[in-house]
């Protein structure tokens, strides 16, 4: 069972977002593995452990620093990592990103693909699903529970829907996008971290994966962000700090009379 997991490096969710000249300013940003990708990695590791065999390959497209994200995944137990790196890839939108990943996947003999359900940066929540379409394989998104059949040819997944879950079955290969709740990701051991420190991660460029330079990157973008602004700050309101019960009565009445709730 060869499991390929797509990984994105994103700003830490603790990061304060700064905007400069109408675009995001990342000069002080700290980067981490996309939290949803951590669930994807963990699920891959658990499947391999359960089966007692298999290989886990991480792929990421992103600038040089994305290697740190791949190393984080190797440190918790992934077997291999490939960095899809080329100047032509820079500024790729979700479609182009999925195209790059699909070309890399076509060179790998994969049985199953995992992605996080969305990157916590741009919040498109598109890449995994577009990837499935480009590979002409099925997908199940926003998965909170996953079981593989005994013959390893299909999976049954619970996917979150409004007010409950849909139980979906699909043959493999398929793309699964991971939602929080799927599992509890492990931490890397000191040994694991030390072992990957000097590991050289192979790079595949546009020519190697057979993608035309003008099919990806800024020029190819089907969606472009033309301006980024910060949301207006909320003005603080009234604070009541005298008697909890009386304050509660006051607020209930304000909500009815001022805010017209009810």
């Amino acid at each position: 069972m060869h499991i390929v997991i797509c990984v994105k490096q994103v700003p830490d969710t603790e990061t304060k977002i700064r905007v400069k000249d109408g675009q995001l300013d990342h000069s002080e940003t700290k980067y981490v593995v996309n939290p949803y990708d951590e669930y994807a990695i963990e699920e891959g590791l658990r499947i391999k452990e359960r089966l007692g065999e298999g290989k886990i390959t991480l792929v990421s497209t992103g600038p040089e620093r994305a290697k740190d994200a791949l190393k984080s995944g190797l440190a918790v137990g992934a077997d291999e990592a490939i960095h899809l790196l080329d100047e032509a890839f820079e500024g790729s939108d979700p479609y182009a990103t999925a195209l790059i990943l699909s070309k890399a996947l076509q060179k790998l003999d994969y049985d199953m693909v995992f992605c996080g359900k969305q990157g916590v940066d741009e919040d498109h929540a598109q890449v995994g699903i577009i990837l499935a379409e480009l590979l002409d394989i099925p997908h199940i998104s926003v998965v909170t529970k996953l079981e593989i059949s005994d013959d390893l040819r299909s999976v049954v997944a619970h996917r979150e829907v409004e007010g409950g879950h849909a139980v979906v079955e699909t043959p493999l290969p398929a793309v699964i996008t991971a939602q929080k709740g799927l599992n509890e990701p492990r931490y890397a051991s000191i040994k694991g971290i030390m072992a990957v420190k000097k590991k050289v991660i192979p790079e595949w460029n546009a020519a190697e994966i057979g993608v035309e330079g003008d099919a990806v990157g800024v020029e190819s973008a089907k969606i472009t962000s033309i301006e980024v602004t910060l949301p207006p700050d909320r003005a603080g309101g009234r604070v009541f700090d005298e008697d909890p019960a009386q304050d509660a009565v006051k607020v209930a009445h304000l909500l009815r009379d001022e805010a017209k709730i009810l």
Partner: protein, 327 residues
């Protein structure tokens, strides 16, 4: 290539979902500016009657794909049907709901048609025949204005942002049955497991009552639920309570949970970490109940009560109950 706007309606349990109406309202605004009509398409089994009511909310033409193979939503089946329709009718803009189905379907459909997709949009502007979209990024810590390279533009719309139009019974629209063959579906729905209870869903709720670590123990969520029940509200939870296993992740509000935009958000025992604020800051009114006067949640609250939530929340519940009884 037309100037029409196509709304992909959502029908659940035989009823139009509110997002369908919200899309028709905003879709009509955009269509007027583009010089086209707003159209709607409904997919499902036994949906023909419901589909015709789309006219009351502004749909000027209605496409219906009615087939047993479309009874359960599947990305592949719905993509097959919709891709054909879009290719044939060439709308300027396709609107889908940013719901669990719409968010699953739209990327597949956009990829099939090789067009761009703006996810989770909260605003639209038409400039020289081009549609610009605004969408929150970083869970709402920033707002991006985006453009798509060409038509058809495709977007998903966040629920609870746009006003749903009133039904106008004088309206009627042409209904056209379209080919409803789902084609090959590999990822099949085996069953739907719905949670018991009648409570409204978080992202669609008009009022949300959320609990945080200040509740001290999972069983105290009962206080939150009582208040929510009186208000007809949805229940939310902070990341801390979800990570502690008090509540399922589907309740989590914030950056790695759900983003909500209700009319009223009541945060009880939630300090207001940056990730939580990102998920609820665009609520119209925010009420915060917290013991700590320095809690960041008070900076975004319209009404803050500094005090013990165990004393405050039951009184709120009782007051609202009285008001409801008074009418």
């Amino acid at each position: 290539m037309s100037n029409d706007v196509l709304v992909v309606a959502e029908i659940r349990d035989g009823a139009l979902k509110k997002i369908s109406l919200e899309m028709l309202g905003e879709g009509r605004n955009i269509a007027k500016q583009l010089g086209g009509d707003v159209q709607a398409v409904a997919l499902g089994h036994g949906v023909a009657d419901v589909a015709t009511t789309l006219a009351l909310y502004g749909a000027q033409k209605i496409f219906v794909a009615d087939d047993p193979s479309l009874e359960n939503y599947t990305a592949e089946g719905y993509t097959n049907v919709l891709a054909n329709l879009v290719k044939q009718t060439q709308p300027a803009l396709v609107l889908l709901g940013a719901t669990t189905a719409g968010r699953d379907l739209a990327p597949r459909l956009a990829a099939r048609l090789a067009v761009g997709l703006a996810s989770d949009c909260t605003g639209f502007a038409v400039q020289d025949g081009e549609v610009l979209m605004t969408r929150p990024i970083y869970a709402g810590k920033a707002i991006a204005t985006v453009e798509e390279a060409g038509r058809p533009y495709m977007t998903t719309i966040r629920p609870n942002i746009f006003a749903a139009p009133e039904a106008d019974t004088s309206r009627a629209a042409e209904v056209e049955n379209i080919p409803a063959d789902a084609g090959e579906i590999r990822a099949k729905v085996l069953e739907m497991i719905m949670e018991a209870g009648e409570r409204v869903e978080l992202t669609e709720a008009d009022i949300v009552v959320s609990g945080g670590r200040g509740l001290k123990a999972p069983e105290h969520f009962a206080l939150i639920e009582e208040l929510a029940d009186v208000l007809g509200a949805a229940v939310g939870a902070s990341r801390a309570t979800v990570d502690a296993g008090w509540k399922d992740h589907s309740y989590q509000v914030g950056q790695t949970g759900k983003v909500v935009t209700p009319t009223l958000y009541i945060a009880c025992g939630i300090s207001g970490a940056i990730q939580h604020l990102a998920g609820m800051k665009t609520s119209k009114y925010i009420v915060a109940v917290n013991k700590d006067p320095e809690a960041p949640i008070f900076k975004v609250a319209d009404y803050g009560i500094v005090g013990d939530l165990f004393k405050v929340v039951p009184v709120l519940t009782e007051e609202f109950r009285k008001m409801k009884a008074e009418g």
